[in-house]
Amino acid sequence: MQPILELDAVTKSFGGLRVTSGVSFSIEKGSISAIIGPNGAGKTTLFNQITGYLNPDHGRIVFEGEDITRLSTREIVARGMGRAFQVTSFFPEETVLDNIRVACLSRLNMTRKTMKSVSEFTDATDKAFSILESLGLDKQADRQAFELAHGDQKLLDIGIALGLEPKMLLLDEPTSGMSPEERLLTRNLIQKLWKEFNLTLLFIEHDMDTVFGIAQTVRVLQMGRLLAEGSPEEIRRNPEVITAYLGEEVL
């Protein structure tokens, strides 16, 4: 196994509250895996530490063999870490196209250019359109992002991350707030994107059909601790996980 991301005893407290408690795991390059756990377990906080939005108190985070624990978000993103957010994050007043194009321009290091119109940057524009097509948002390219339906905004958030051509992509509850039909579509879409963009994909999700449907490995977080890690079957049968989180109905 060739790891792309390694966490070693990552620990973080807010005041007296330990939100991440000695979490260690390692993620295989090219894999697709999930993190599950009850509300407030520290899942999002873990993403925040991996992406340099928060600094861990202790422990180490290694990305492609390089220690990124203390690097800034900007530096971590530049190394190929992408992220979409639990609370959908995009640029509401810009067009759908420009939301993704700005990411493509950033990837090409073109955001300092001042005298040419964005549409003249054909590389970035083409790339943005191809991402929109992959997401099925191309018909809405000229709409302002705030006009989109919630589900499409979640996809747009992912699209912005894809515009940076990340090696690894973190998705924080990609199907939250969606209807069951949308969930199914999104689940298939995530799997498609994973293959199409050669990503290592790590996602947080509460929807168990999505988790057990597409993850190769599932990790369970509870009160900041890594409670269990294993294949979907192992996790489904793990008695600790059942009492802590899954309950009876999944069986």
């Binding site: 900007r74 994050s89 995009f90 640029f91 321009l105 950033s106 955001t111 001042t114 940057f121």
Partner: protein, 319 residues
């Protein structure tokens, strides 16, 4: 959508050159030429200010600092070395605004929101105090009179055409800037700075860039203005100058590229019309402004645009 953009743009430029090109032909007196010149220069100043506020979301209350700086470079150099230095002084003013805004920018962009606003205000007032108190060098409260542009530029019509040209070029540059990748990045910073960090971009660095750009156009406006009025005054540094430029933006519409220019025109014309009739003009202007801000929160251009959009979608529904 793109099409509509194009029409608006062509419309602005056609109207701009039609109105301001014909003013020297039809102006009944030199006074009208001066008025038109004020609209041009304040309009450009307000548009440059809006790169900070409307585009990037940074409400600077201290752009008067750079406006005054540009004016005093011209005033002091012409007074000390003669009118031949008029044009170079405009250049030096812009250059020193670049340097000073980089320095001050490094300090003020460290804070955001209202703290940024207050800090910029403080620096502006500091510059005003210095200019006001340093009588021997700046002329203090008296300001500097008799600033003449050299040679043919001394002719009012020629000088008007000179400002018209420089203002048009400035607006064109700002327009390119807004449509460029930097412009897009700046708008994204206003809407969602955290996400911009996740694009691998430095928010503060880009805020500094636009602070420097906007301030250098403010200095150009100040330099040009000294040749219109032939005199300058420490009030060019005063907070009311910064406030006026904010007001122009808000009245015209900060969400619109051309809005602040229209706002400048409206305010200057109101000041002129009302000021000529009553000594309570500042009270009346205040009331007019208040009414406009309350009734037309998107600014003149913004409201017109919203009205057209509503009209259009209404027609679409019926058809």
């Amino acid at each position: 959508m793109k099409h509509r953009h194009r029409i608006k743009e062509v419309g602005f430029w056609a109207l701009f050159f039609l109105v301001f090109g014909l003013i020297p032909v039809f102006a009944k007196s030199e006074y009208h030429l001066v008025l038109a010149n004020h609209i041009l220069i304040w309009g450009m100043f307000a548009m440059a200010f809006n790169m900070l506020f409307g585009v990037t979301g940074m409400l600077s209350f201290g752009q008067a600092l750079y406006y005054g700086l540009g004016a005093y470079w011209v005033g002091l150099m012409v007074k000390t070395f003669g009118e031949a230095w008029f044009l170079p002084a405009i250049g030096f003013g812009v250059l020193s605004a670049v340097l000073l805004s980089m320095l001050i920018g490094l300090l003020v962009i460290r804070v955001s929101g209202v703290y940024f606003t207050v800090l910029t205000l403080a620096f502006g007032q500091l510059a005003w105090q210095i200019t006001f108190k340093w009588y021997h060098f700046t002329g203090g409260d008296d300001g500097i009179q008799g600033i003449m542009a050299p040679g043919i530029l001394g002719n009012h019509i020629v000088y008007y055409c000179f400002t018209l040209l420089l203002v048009a070029v400035s607006i064109w540059i700002l327009r390119r800037l807004v449509n460029s990748p930097l412009g897009l990045t700046l708008r994204c910073i206003r809407q969602n700075p955290d996400r911009v960090r996740f694009l691998g971009r430095r928010v503060r660095r880009n805020q500094l860039r636009i602070y420097v750009i906007s301030s250098s156009f403010a200095a150009l406006a100040g330099g040009l203005m000294s040749g219109v009025n032939n005199s300058i005054h420490p009030d060019m540094f005063y907070w009311t100058t910064s406030g006026e430029v904010i007001l122009m933006g808000v009245i015209g519409g900060i969400g619109q590229f051309f809005g602040p220019f229209i706002g400048a025109a409206v305010i200057i014309i109101i000041q002129d019309v009302v000021g000529a009739r009553t000594e309570y003009w500042s009270l009346i202007i205040g009331l007019v402004m208040m009414t406009m801000v309350l009734l037309l929160p998107r600014g003149l251009v913004g409201e017109i645009q919203a009205f057209m959009a509503r009209f259009k979608s209404g027609a679409g529904n019926r058809g």
